[in-house]
């Protein structure tokens, strides 16, 4: 339960971090709430850890042109406490309240949760329903990917060696959209078995992202179209999980989707 040896470097700037990360077997260390357990179990054995915690420039929430910009090193606790987020993107507030526990959220970061790509993580599912974009930076330049392009599978992302997730951009939600995040976990604060994130403006907009339907968040596009056309919660929930093979997962996810939709008045 102790990590294997590694070298450690505290980054002094994003440029410095990118320089350090541009080598074999180097990994960025964000909040460490997933990576350090993996080090302790020796499931991860990097040669070099590049600590991003000193980089204040990567932490913080900002609204510009109605878009929410979340620095990758923003603590989950800061996201949970933000009045701006609660007012404009309450889906994120609801989702992050379900991430781990208070002591985990005090260290855990929003960017770390996305880049770790755990299939049971709440934040990527909420960000999927909000059509978030991810800003990646390397020594060669920057690019922005949609969440669906970024997440490749369980613990797998489109990040190239030497590339760092620096921020997340969330577009403004449609006016008067209602949002709900519902999940089922076996114990409080545990990773969820299944969950649903919904953004709904009757007759205009519906986004429904599923947790637990696949190793990455899945957008239930058929159910979304039906919701905009006026389908009720039960019908949309049936459509959302119709493709799932496993009986238990289909029943559980169907119930959670229906509850989420009922909560937003669908």
């Amino acid at each position: 339960m102790k990590p294997a040896p590694f070298a450690y470097a505290a980054a002094t700037s994003v440029e410095h971090a990118l320089e350090l990360l541009d080598q074999e077997e180097a990994r960025p260390l964000a909040g460490g709430q997933s990576l350090v357990p993996m080090l302790n179990f020796r499931l991860a054995r990097p040669e070099l850890l590049v600590d991003l915690n000193p980089l204040g420039e990567l932490a913080g929430l900002r609204v510009s042109d109605g878009r929410l910009e979340i620095g990758a090193m923003t603590r989950q606790a800061a996201l949970l406490r933000s009045d701006v987020v609660a007012a404009g993107w309450p889906l994120l507030t609801q989702a992050v309240a379900l991430v781990g526990h208070a002591a985990i959220r005090n260290r855990g970061t929003v960017g770390g949760s996305v880049a770790h790509a755990d299939p049971a993580a709440e934040l990527p599912v909420a960000l999927s329903a909000l059509d978030a974009g991810l800003r990646l930076r390397s020594r060669g330049g920057t690019r922005t990917l949609a969440l669906g392009e970024f997440l490749r599978g369980a613990l797998s992302t489109a990040l190239e060696p030497g590339e760092l997730l620096t921020g997340i951009e969330v577009p403004p939600a449609p006016p008067r959209a209602r949002m709900a995040f519902v999940e089922h976990a076996r114990t409080h604060g545990d990773f969820a078995l299944a969950g649903a994130a919904v953004v709904f403006a009757p007759g205009r907009h519906a986004a429904l992202a599923l947790l637990g339907a696949a190793p990455v968040p899945v957008r239930a596009t058929a159910a979304e179209r039906a919701l905009v056309a006026g389908a009720d919660a039960a019908e949309a929930a049936r459509l959302a999980v119709a493709g799932l093979q496993d009986d238990y997962r289909r029943a559980l996810l169907g119930t959670l989707v229906r509850r989420a939709l009922e909560r937003v008045g669908a």
């Binding site: 590694f6 505290a10 460490g32 350090v36 080090l39």
Partner: protein
Amino acid sequence: MNISVQINGDRYQGEVEPRTLLSDFIRHQANLTGTHVGCEHGVCGACTVQLDGQPVRSCLMLAVQADGRSLRTVEGLAAPDAELSPLQRAFSEHHALQCGFCTAGFLISADALLARGGALTEAEIREELAGNLCRCTGYEGIVAAVLEVARAESPEA
């Protein structure tokens, strides 16, 4: 790597490997063994300490990351003359511990919660303490102890 960490107001200096966990630095180099180590992967909460006032898992931080920072551990709760804090007294009175292994983590988490001030409901206390596991008490005494201190500090609640 040489680090210097403020713990309960005292400065502790030491030579650590990059892989040294903060929990091990606290116990083995600062010799503050009140902080307990349970699961070492962030699930049990026994090793919770306050980092600049915020509860964090000391098993999920590297000691080098605490260089220059300020920590509070269970040893910092009682007064210098060893008089127990109101929270510690309430734990004793409500039988909020049996074997005591989890107690330091609960005290540190509850202390940070109470320090935020304001009225606390039983549900809020249970939510905040959900990250700490206790296998003896069934939590009733722990919640009762924190609730009693919260009510004494915010009588209007």
